[in-house]
């Protein structure tokens, strides 16, 4: 029985499949096992309307014969399911053409044994969280909304998983990981909306009532918004916005595949931000969602992406690292992976400015709570479009004047980093595309808003 609570059981399954693959002719093989329990309670109109739980085990086999590679996955872990898995993989591999520059699976560093629990990634409070625990948190959020006369929407989730990797080059890695997230949007009958979110390894550290109050206060503050003209404004971007900057730049630039295909802006030594901008990817940062190794079983390295505004490096998986003649930084995703490596644990350095000082430094500009539906318009220039939502405010003379209706922006995130003139001393952990980022709020010289909407 493989369970999220027993990473060793996941590793034993991975080793079993690996042995089966090698027995029937694989010259190399890699097995990734993820066993998870996931639950999520969703609320809208100040009541729970969706409430779900699932248990699953997935085995992902990368089966190699010479330079012919197949990837097969299954959720069937009985002997017949595993037998079928390896035989299907063998048949597919035989049908494939050779991958000329296949560099082989990653091998462990000399003297490295099984990686288990290199960083604290597991919280019993998350793994043990019950439907009743989540409902209690939701009721606290709703109570805060009720007190403010607004309506609450959102979700409270807890996930526990065992992740294990075994490969024929000797890598053995197994780890239990937990994560919890509470996010909420509050809507006022007078047109205001607000947002709050917390992500943590430990569900018991999430203060649901405080998040409810934050969203409710923001919703009431954004009542009766007025139209602002599109144009260039200095901005203060809250943490819920900044995670989109680290995510999008990770996607279009800070990964080795995009560099090798000449799709990336990233270039060591190139200035891409002001002196105040430092971004690393750090799987061991306890403020994020830690992980010891990537989905190839390679230990995660701390990678300096931007140091005081200067681009230093990008993240690598085993294949991109081999092409570059260096070691993987431990940022591989599950095979097959056409997107390349990804920084799952972005951490942006805090500054020295309080939230009040960030806003106080705006002579005339906008305070933005959150972005919505962002997308790449021009990858090499990192031009992104998206909308503001859940609290956008006009600031004049360092004071919030009042809420404005949401705006569309079309903005180079690189130009934005170059214009950072203040960084908050406080940071938040916010869910990104794939992982979670630890980010501060930013004040930026200019941001190009290109349109307006009706609310």
């Amino acid at each position: 029985m493989v369970t999220a609570r027993e990473p060793e059981s996941a590793l034993a399954l991975a080793e079993d499949v690996l042995a089966r693959a090698l027995r029937i002719g694989a010259t190399e093989a890699e097995v990734l096992v993820v066993a998870g329990d996931s639950s999520l309670t969703r609320f809208a109109n100040s009541e729970i309307h969706q409430n779900v739980a699932e248990r699953s085990v997935t085995v992902n086999l990368r089966y190699i014969v010479g330079r012919r590679i197949a990837v097969v996955s299954t959720g069937k872990v009985d002997p017949e399911g595993l037998r079928s898995l390896v035989h299907r993989a063998a048949a597919i591999a035989r049908s494939c053409e050779e991958l000329e520059d296949w560099a082989g699976l990653p091998a462990p560093a000399e003297g490295m044994g099984t990686i288990t629990g290199g960083v604290p990634a597991w919280a019993a409070g998350t793994a043990d969280a019950t439907p009743e625990f989540r409902a209690e948190g939701v009721r606290a959020v709703i109570a805060a909304a009720d007190a403010a006369g607004v309506i609450a929407y959102g979700s409270f989730s807890n996930d526990a998983e065992a992740v294990a990797v075994a490969n024929s080059a000797g890598i053995r890695a197994a780890e239990g990981r937990t994560s919890a997230q509470l996010l909420t949007v509050h809507m006022s009958p007078d047109g205001g909306t607000g947002y709050a979110e917390m992500v943590s390894m430990d569900a018991t550290s999430i203060d649901a009532a405080a998040l409810g109050r934050e969203a409710a206060t923001k919703a009431r503050a954004s009542d009766h918004p007025v139209s602002a003209l599109a144009g260039d404004y200095p901005v203060v971007l809250e943490e819920y916005v900044v995670v989109d900057i680290t995510d999008q730049l990770g996607y279009v630039g800070f990964n080795a595949l995009s560099v090798q295909e000449d799709r990336s802006f990233a270039e060591p030594g190139r200035r891409i931000g002001s002196d105040l901008v430092t971004i690393v990817d750090d799987g061991s940062d306890p403020h994020g969602l830690p992980m010891s190794f990537d989905y190839e079983g390679v230990p995660k390295q701390r990678v300096a992406l931007v140091d005081a505004g200067i681009c230093r490096d990008v993240v690598y998986d085993s294949q991109t690292a081999a092409r570059a003649g260096r070691m993987s930084t431990g940022h591989g995703l599950p095979a097959p992976n056409p997107w390349g490596p990804f920084p799952l644990n972005a951490v942006m350095s805090a500054g020295t400015t309080s939230r009040e000082e960030l806003i106080g430094g705006l002579e005339r500009g906008l305070l933005v709570t959150r972005f919505h539906y962002t997308n790449v318009v021009h990858p090499k220039l990192a031009i992104i479009t998206g909308m503001t939502r859940d609290g956008t405010f006009l600031v004049e003379g360092g004071k919030i004047v009042g809420p404005v209706r949401n705006l569309r922006y079309t903005q180079s995130y690189l130009d934005a980093l170059a214009g950072v003139n203040a960084v908050s001393s406080e940071r938040k952990t916010v869910r990104g595309f794939l992982g979670a980022a630890v980010v501060p709020a930013l004040r930026i010289d200019g941001w190009t808003f290109t349109g307006v909407t009706e609310f």
Partner: protein
């Protein structure tokens, strides 16, 4: 499967569920990715499991497992009831469902050439040939081509005696060329940037003729590098089906989902500007040429099935009739709140997700009169836009912005110069009201996307869109400073 389904339903009912349904699903996926003429990945996945949805004390609970055993059916049925009871502690309005006939029967996607029986070598060979043809064009930096096949066997059972079995088969493929020079990265794809997809067999992949289009894809990617920037201004646009389908998806498909209207997606995907008062007043969403239906019976659509995941039979539901907003996509829970019956739009992304209101095939109907070519010939001064490359819309689905791979200048009814980096933006109903020409059946084509995101935990839906191409006046083109 019936034993397992019955066991889960019995357990849930014994523990207090007033209604329960169960879906037992087996999925099989196969994909081939080719990059710059070589096979980068061949993957095959299978996923089996079941999910139990229950109503207890008027509140929903759901639990799912990949272990298809009777004891696990008991555990999951009981867990779903426990979860529903926790939901009931924060409930203000008890859930009620509209009546529907007991669902029984079978459905199977018509398939000529079973994609899972075509030898893998043959599929690889077809894809590699197309990819290499695109890559042979001088100046192409890299190419990417894909093929995917998806099959799902689904058994649905409910405590009202419903029992259906369905087998859905879908395929997709595309060839893409990329050209890069300094800061400029241009991409050209066929038939669509994410792949052309339909329900059916390998015959659809053959019909795409990737190889026959590959060279043109490469040539246009390279030509875009030196093409002038699309000039900004308010312009007449003729949208190719490869762009129009996504415009339809984002600015009509999503805002007519009734769960969004009632706020149950507010914390993630957002809500909708198409509130019930607009249904009552007959809000003019578009010009009289605009008629849009959600049709789960359309041939070849990714949203074509026999019954939805609540056991409601597939049907065609008008959303926009000659410009007027006339209907929503809905569920058994939401439809009665606007005095309607479910449109049969509840779909789940596999055994481990609950059904949500999802698009089936949201189609814009052709208008007899002009083909798309004739619309171009009828346009004095405009732009012809094809293949999306960026999309964004606000959380009530009003302010949108799209970018396309290519824009051709139209002068005197003739397509001419190529422009790069074209973007356009607008407000949904203003845009659709500006539609003054819609292609006829000659340009009507079924397209779609296999990855429409919605819900928490996230779900990816396979959605069809049949569209003819259309013309729009006075649209803002060229957004931002670059």
């Amino acid at each position: 499967m019936k034993d397992l389904a019955d066991r889960a339903l019995d357990t849930a009912a014994q523990l207090g569920a007033t209604y329960a349904d169960v879906r037992v699903i087996r999925r099989r996926d196969e994909s081939i990715s080719v990059k710059s003429g070589r096979v980068e990945g061949v993957a095959m996945g299978e996923s089996d499991g079941f999910g139990v949805r229950v109503l207890v004390d008027g509140a929903w609970g759901f639990a799912a497992s990949d272990t298809l055993e009777l004891d696990e059916a008991d555990r999951i049925g009981a867990l779903a009831v426990r979860i529903a009871k926790a939901s009931a502690t924060a409930l203000r309005n008890r859930v009620t469902l509209d009546a529907r006939p007991v669902a029984t029967g079978t459905f199977e996607t018509p398939v000529v050439e079973d994609p899972f029986k075509i030898p893998l070598e043959a599929k690889i060979s077809d894809l590699v040939a197309a990819d290499r043809a695109a890559g042979r064009v001088k100046g192409v930096s890299f190419t990417e081509s894909m093929y995917a096949a998806h099959r799902e066997w689904k058994t649905f059972a409910a405590t009202d005696g419903s029992f259906t079995e369905q087998m859905i088969t879908q395929v997709g493929a595309a060839v893409e060329a990329n050209a890069i020079e300094r800061d400029e990265h241009q991409r050209r794809s066929y038939p669509d940037s994410g792949g052309g997809y339909q329900a059916g067999g390998y015959e659809y992949v053959r019909s795409l003729d990737l190889l026959g289009h590959a060279e043109e894809v490469g040539e246009e990617a390279v030509a875009l590098l030196t093409a002038p920037q699309c000039p900004p201004g308010n312009r007449t646009l003729v949208l190719d089906p490869s762009m129009l389908y996504l415009q339809l998806h984002e600015s009509c498909g999503h805002p007519t989902e009734l769960d969004r209207v009632f706020g149950t997606e507010a914390s993630y995907a957002g809500t909708s500007f198409l509130t019930p008062d607009k249904l009552a007043e007959g809000f003019m969403y578009g010009s009289e040429l605009v008629t849009i239906v959600a049709d789960a019976t359309a041939a070849g659509g990714l949203g074509t099935f026999g019954w939805d995941d609540e056991g409601v039979a597939a049907q065609a539901v008008p959303l926009i009739q000659n410009g007027k907003f006339v209907g929503y996509q809905s569920s058994r829970e939401t439809a009665p709140r606007v005095g309607r019956q479910s449109s049969g739009g509840m779909r789940a992304d596999g055994w481990n997700r609950i059904p949500l209101i999802r698009m089936t095939n949201v189609n814009m109907l052709p208008v007899p009169g002009m083909s798309l070519d004739e619309i171009v010939a009828d346009t004095d001064d405009g732009l012809y836009l094809a293949n999306n490359r960026s999309w964004s819309i606000d959380d009530r689905r009003l302010n949108f912005q799209f970018a396309t791979e290519v824009a051709y200048e139209i002068k005197g009814g003739v397509k001419g110069r190529l422009f790069k980096n074209c973007t356009y933006t607008g407000i949904t109903y203003e845009f659709w009201r500006s539609c003054d020409a819609v292609g006829d059946a000659r340009s009507f084509v079924m397209l779609g996307t296999p990855n429409c995101g919605k819900g928490e935990p996230s779900q990816s839906a396979r959605v069809g869109h049949a569209v003819p191409g259309a013309r729009f006046r006075n649209v803002q083109v060229g957004v931002g400073k670059w």
